[in-house]
Symmetry: C2
Subunit: 131 residues, 2 copies
């Protein structure tokens, strides 16, 4: 009837590392679309972007906010409108981050694949070793 140990009381902490911020900014699909479009235009206002995207100006604005916080983008006010543009170095960093993660998976995968092979070969020669 259960009643065991309270199952670990630890609570998940925010823990936002510097480039974790970068990642989470660029991992979101919609945000990538915004970023992409902005990159294509070179310079645009929220309204312009929203005009070519499947969501509202407000949504775009929020995304731009996130992107700005992550340093991927910056906007300068110009009269009644705000012009945003991409910061290439930062975007480059983001791309790098993604590539890194991908690469890391590759490595780990390669390792276990290697191990598996080795184990298979060993298995043919002698019965399964200790644990």
């Amino acid at each position: 009837m259960s009643l065991g140990v309270p199952e670990s009381p630890r609570r998940a902490q925010p823990r936002e590392g510097e480039d974790e911020l970068l990642w989470e900014a660029v991992a979101e699909p919609s945000r990538r679309r915004v970023l992409d479009l902005l990159l294509a235009r070179g310079d645009a206002t929220p309204t312009m972007l929203a005009a070519e995207l499947p969501f509202t100006r407000q949504a775009v604005a929020k995304h731009l906010a996130v992107l700005t916080r992550a340093g991927l983008v910056e906007g300068h006010r110009q009269g009644r409108e705000v012009h945003y543009s991409v910061r290439p170095e930062r975007l480059n960093a983001a791309a790098q981050a993604m590539a890194d993660v991908a690469a890391r998976w590759d490595v780990r995968l390669g390792r276990i694949k290697h191990l598996a092979e080795e184990r298979a070969r060993a298995g043919q020669e002698e019965p399964p070793g200790p644990r």
Copy 2:
């Protein structure tokens, strides 16, 4: 006092493509940790994983569910416990997906960088052309 056009009534549609599922599974940081740990262990139960992660077994379970739906992982019941393991081909696909996205950014960045240079060179030779 405003009262302009209702600001585009279009509503965002779900739009879940096949490997969109893959991406969203692997884009989530916590999920990546689970996946990573599982990959390292080679084979583990939710409880085991939770023991080495900063969140509860339930959370881990949910993540495993998502990962399973995405085909990245599979679990076989074994008495009272369920043993999960990674499916390398699928994980490989995921890594590929990430790499692709990253690469795409690289290309686009390269393109605009190229354009910028060209524009700069042109600017030195003749005054700014027509907008």
